[in-house]
Each structure stands twice: as C-alpha cells, then as structure tokens.
C-alpha cells in the first residue's frame, strides 16, 4: 500500500513540470500540452484527496475536469489551426503584432 503523500508529490511534480514547460517551450502546441499536464496533475490530486477522505466527490469532480479539458482542447486546437493558416507558423516568436 503506497501512502497518499506519494501521489501528492507526483501530482505536485507534474504540476511544476507543466509550469516549466509552459514558460520554456516556444511553440503553441507544446505550451498547450503543458497546460493539459497541469490539469491532469490536479486530477491526480483530487483523486488522492478523495481516496484519503473516503468520499466519492473528488472522483466525480475529475469527470468534470476531464470534460473541461476536452472542450478546451477542441477550441484551443481550432484557434491554433487558425493561427497556422494566418502565420504559416506556430512558434510564439512569430506572433508579435501587438506590443507595449
């Protein structure tokens, strides 16, 4: 039996990795994937807490978060596709019309 703290540590590591990935990667798809990693880190934390509290609420919440992530993926990929058609690139440094 692995104690819940371990899951929590994994979840925090995943979350931090997501943040790092979001900031150091320079293309939109990878940044978006980092956000998905962060969401899944939160899911893991929810399940851990639900398990240690012995209630089902946390697991139901995960369903909702998964749905939200899917909807976000659909609209996000559509927007990124639009960017690609406009700029012929999905690198962040190519998207710099507005500044200041």
């Amino acid at each position: 039996m692995i104690p819940p703290t371990y899951y929590l540590v994994v979840s925090i590591i995943l979350f931090v990795l997501g943040i790092i990935g979001f900031f150091i990667k320079k293309d939109l798809i990878t940044q978006f994937l980092s956000v998905e990693v962060m969401l899944n880190a939160a899911n893991l934390a929810f399940i851990t807490f639900a398990h240690s509290a012995g209630s089902l609420d946390g697991q139901i919440i995960v369903f909702f978060v998964i749905t939200v992530a899917a909807a976000e993926a659909a609209i996000g990929l559509a927007i990124i596709l639009l960017v690609y058609r406009k700029h012929k690139s999905i690198k962040t440094e190519d998207i710099h019309l507005m500044k200041g």
Partner: protein
Amino acid sequence: MNTFAALYPLLSIVVGALVVLLLEVFLKRKNRDYLAFISILFLLNAGRECIRVWNQGYTYFDGNLQLDNLALLLCLILTLATLLVILISMKYLRLQNVNFGEYYALLLFALSGMIIMVSSTDLLIIFLGLEVLSMSSYALAGLKIEDVRSTEAAVKYFLLGSFASAFLVFGLAFLYGAAHSLDIPAIVNFFRADTSLSLMALAGLGFVIIGFGFKIAWVPFHMWTPDVYEGSPTPVTAFFSVGPKVVGFAVLIRLFQLYWSESLNSQIVSSSLWVIAVLTMVAGNLLALRQRNVKRILAYSSIAHAGYLLVALLAEDNSGLVFYLFVYLFMNIGAFTAVIALSKKGTEYLDLENYKGIGFRYPWIGATLSVFLFSLAGFPPTGGFLAKFYIFASAVHEGFIWLVIIGVLASLISVYYYLRIVVYMYMHTATNDIEIDAYNPALFLVLFLCLYGVLQMGIFPGNVLIIIKQAVASLPIF
C-alpha cells in the same frame, strides 16, 4: 425554497442561445440583425424572471443553484451589460465584416456561464461556469477572422486563460483536500475553525486567487489584457472589460465573507491581497501613460479599476463594491460605444491622432465620451466619483490608510491619460478628415442609456444604493 422556478433566468438564456444557433444554420439569411433582436427578447425575458423572483430566495439542484438577492442583482447587471453589447454590435459586425450569427449565440453562452457563476456557492459549479464563459470568450476574441490581430488576441487569451484555469483547478484540489468539500460555506467554516497555519489550504486558496486574478486582470497576472483588448472586436472588448470582472468579484465576495476572523491564515491572505491591490493600481495607471491606442488605454484603465475594486474587497465594503461595478458597467461600455461610433466600413479609428478635433465635428459623440472619461477618472458629479468615494471612505474606516493614499495618488495619475483624450478631441484642430458612417439609432440609444446611468448614479444614487443594500444583506452572516 427548492423549486424549478429558480432555473428560469438561466434557462431563458441557454434556450435563447440554442435557438439563435439553430436559426443561424437553418435560415441562412444574409442580414443577421433579426438574430440580435431575438437574443434581446430572451435577455429581456431573463431580466423579467430575475425581477419576479426577487426576495424569494429560490434554490434548485439541492441548493447548488441559489438565487439569493445578490445573485439576482448581479444577474440583472450582467444581462444589462450583454444587452448593451448586443445593441452596439449590430452595426459594427456588418461594417467590420464579422457577420456571423454565432456571435450572438456565443455572447448568450458566455452570459449563461456568468449567471451560473454568480448564482452558485459550490466552487466546482463556479469553475464550470467560468469555463463556459472562457470558452465562449476565446471564440469571441478570434471572431474577426480576416484580421490577424484578432487571431493573435484569441490565441493569447486562450493560452493564458487555460493556464490560469489549470491553476484554479489545482487550487481547488488543495482546498478540497484541506476542507473535504468545495462548498464555499464549508470552506469559510474550515478557515474560521482552523486557527493554526494550514499550508495546504493556504496554497489552495493562493492558486484559486491566482486563477481569478488572471480573469480579473490584477497586476502580476495582467500580461494578456492589453493585447487581447486591442485585437478583439471592439464590442467584445467592451464585454470582456465588464463581464469577467463582475463575476470574478462576485465569487470573491462570497469567498471572503468577513475574512474568516483574525486567524493567521486570513492575515497572510489579506496582506498578499494588499500588495496586489497596490501593484494593480500603480502599475495599471503608469503603464497607461505611454499608450497611443485608445483601446489599449482603456485596457490599462480597466486593470487600474480592478485595483480599486480590490480595495473595496479588502475593506469588506460589499455594497460599495457592487455600486462600483454598476457604475463601471455604464462608464466603460459607454466609452467603448463612443469608440465604436468612430468607425467606418473596414476601418476603426483607434489612434489618439485620429481623435483630433472630434469634439467639434461630432459634438454628441465627443461630449458623451468626455463625460465617460471624466467618470472613469473620478470627477464629480459623475458616478465614478461617488463610487471611488464610497470605496476609499470605507477603506479609511477599516484602517487601510496607506492603501487609500496610494489609491488616490494612482487615480491622480490616471487623470492625465483620460484627459489627454479629451484634450485631443477639443484642443487640437483636425489634421486629417475622419469620415464615419456608424450613425445608428442603437448606438445612440446605448450612449444615452450609459450617460443616464453615469449621471443618475452620480447625482441621485439613493434608490440604487437601497437595492444594493438589500442584495448584499442576503449574504449569510457568520
């Protein structure tokens, strides 16, 4: 009382959105103004339902949907904001080639998300409402498909917005772990009972605050605001500047009920919010000084206003906060309406240079825009002055002397960039001819309504204040 009637306002909006969506694909008419009128009908119906259940305290879904008076008042404010935005969009969409029927459906979906947020006390439901709002907003920001800036705004908003919601979800997970529930009363009770330092709950709350801070645009989290405001279609910008702020503060009012007493946890939270408030007021106003694009100026001004609103939140002046939101709705949408009025087919005049001499060429637009800018800067006798006055007065009363001093200094800075637009309109002679063909009864109706709102709240705020006091009294007292 647990009754199906509690669903009516929300149901009216959602059904309206679906009807608009279906009409768009089945009728395929070139002129889409009829969709706007249909949406307005559904909005009016939702407003009527809100007024009808005033003071009834209806709930549904086992109390997850709670229409107390505060929720109803905020629903009315948001419905009004959406109504005004739809009115100013009709002509704009045709002129700027954004002629999609989905626009109205997306606005209504965003409104339904906001109504879900203000009328629930469960953070999970609030999160879902926020996502409904955000998804519609991402699409709305990118709707001007021919304009590269709009696409850029959409992608920036989407990336940073989803980043912020990931923070929010992670924070919710930690709050759930600490309090074993996502119901706001349960969380508040947990914080009040737990006098020792609870790192997990604090981290959770911090992440939740960061998540909402992104949506409201507080200063360390404001990077997306100017770009998104500049790139989005202007009516959508008006919507962004009001809607997310109102709902964000509505949720925070519920979450920070009385700051959970004197415990160590609440001390830490309130001092970090103090720092954010100072940063937001100062940086928002300073960064606005060097902008030349009117939409960007208004973007930074909306950041600064988020800072003043945070002062109200810190001072626990809920009625002052709601009053400020109400005034802010009128003055900000009014200012954006004037900006929209200064446009012609395919072009918008957004640079300060274009505003030279506008005050004499188009006296009605110039005069109303000046009033809105005076109100944003906080001059009497406009609503903006009273709203700021109430907030700062209650902050002094609560002992936030330094915060108020910084806030007043920051709003003195803001006078410069608001008045600069007025100076350009009246003191400079026009160098280039600005042709506008946005004369439209709907635009003038909105300008008039906003002017009326700003002056009414500045001169006779009594009636509005009574209603707001009634609404705020419906918050549970611990």
